[in-house]
Amino acid sequence: MSLLQEEREIILSNEYVDAFDFAEVAEFVSGASKNLFISHHFRERDKMLVQPRGGFPTYEQQYALYEFFVDANVDVLPLTVDSNTRLNDYATAKKMLRLSEENDMDMLNGYPLVTHGYRTTRKMITHFNKPVSLRHGTPDARLLIETAIASGIFEIEGGPITYLLPYSKNFPLDKAFLYWKYVERVCANYSQLNEPINRESFGPLTATLVPPAITIVIQLLEMLLSLEEGVKSFSVSFSQQGSMNQDIVTGAVIKKLANHYAQQIGCDDAMINLVYHQWMGAFPANEDFAEQLINLATVIASMVGADKIITKTRQEATGIPTKEANAKTVADTQYSLRILNGLPTVVDEEEEEILTLEVRAIMEAVFNDPADTLWRKVFNSIKNGIIDVPFSPHIINQNEMITIRDARKNIRIIERGNVPIPERCYEYERSQCDLSKDTTSIVNDIIHDIGIMQ
């Protein structure tokens, strides 16, 4: 038996799992409908796929949510997992599920997938026969993704960096890399049985003034970590940044460089997709304004040429949205996409060049780390600040980089910390901003720049 299989048996003999049948699951994946695989849709469809967010505690609620989504002409269904399951606290998830079922009151902020189990969940997924995307935020997602794939969920979001640095203060980053290596291998192995399982990275990170160079570097590294384990379909992503031009430039550079680096490690047979998140920062409380923002994001996603868009709702400012509000966004976004025709092509060569140089310089610094494996190089690079994520709560993050918006609302790096931004690019970034201000005014500007859409 391989080491991986030994580890799988240990993970799946968890007391909260009801007898995992490896052979039956492999047989299910082999014979599963192509419609369940988002990788199949990416290849076959010429329109941008629309995916909302959403997860409710009980099976009935999740089923009802999917019915609403299907009525609204959804392309990809979400399965958002509750926060107890994300932290591997299956006992609490189980208790809270029972309380939710007995009291008609939601005690969980998502669907406790491990607690429901794959036999139950698979009934729902195969009934709707649409691709489902697993949304979580789990540093140790080994049991979760086994359960997901066995349920018919063939897109797995996340990664060791993007699911850790924005969410956790002190979960060990090196462990996260190893846990995610397991995820990549399991996805790669199942991909050999039918259409590929798609892996998607979480580009928004902290959604707080993260400059595109950092976003892209982390997307590329998670992509490489996944492809090197044998994953054949991968989505890089980023979220609306606040400047249409910067989004278009980011989209162009990330697509170009994703293909370049995939090719460099001999993985050009893998399919690389681009996902765009509607605005991930603080939303306006005015629900009509929120809809305007959502529509604007859809226009930008089209300009960027995204393969999939992930939607927000008009209730974003107030909490977990109702299924009605969630379905409304899907219908509205589909309508916007249908009428968005004849878009112009916008290319900003100067900005593209600057951003490309920045990303390449950081990637080179990561590759030049003396460690023997890619994940160790990336680990060291985060530890020593070659990669620095603004507003990450994690203790390993350097927190030396400072970013603000320029007059056109582009995110600019005014303090690079240890990030090896080339001199020419650094001068360019700084030249776009008023640096004569004192720190008090800059802090006030940062507060304003974070809340730009409110």
Binding site: Y167, K169, N170, T206, T208, P390, F391, S392, P393, I395, N399, I402, D438, T439, T440, I442, V443, I446, I447, I450
Partner: protein, 137 residues
């Protein structure tokens, strides 16, 4: 002057914490930032370890109320903390409340400066005045 700062409890709201850090440094303080999700004991231990003159605790999700009550008892277990300027700021209650009542309550818990929903720089100006008054600025 040395300042220990951080966000108390199971509160992961990091944005203000970074901005406080930045602003304190700009004003010339030596900052020991414990970040988010920090327990009360960790704050006091850090003050002892660094010899800080100021302890600045922040809270956004309102749970400081629960932790605040424990301050007097916990502080009494440490010696030599009497001269430390204790400051707390952010959103100090769950829901809404009268600022005067909130300030009075936190002063009873042993905080010298209480900045409920106050502008960051106004709070830092208050710190400056108090440290000058005590002759430690």
């Amino acid at each position: 002057m040395k300042v220990v700062t951080g966000v108390v409890g199971n509160d992961i709201h990091v944005v203000a914490n970074r901005l406080i850090d930045l602003s304190l440094r700009a004003r010339g303080y030596e900052v020991f930032n414990l970040g988010v999700n920090t327990h009360l004991e960790e704050f006091f231990d850090a003050v002892v370890e660094t010899g800080a003159e100021v302890l600045m605790i922040s809270s956004l999700n309102g749970e400081a109320e629960g932790w605040g009550r424990e301050v007097p008892l916990l502080k009494s277990r440490y010696s030599n903390l009497d001269d430390v300027i204790m400051m707390i700021g952010g959103n100090l209650v769950v829901g809404s409340g009268n600022t005067e009542d909130i300030v009075a309550r936190y002063k009873k818990y042993g905080f010298d400066l209480v900045c409920h929903q106050m502008d960051l720089n106004t709070g830092l100006d208050m710190l400056q005045s108090l440290s000058e008054e005590r002759g430690i600025a």
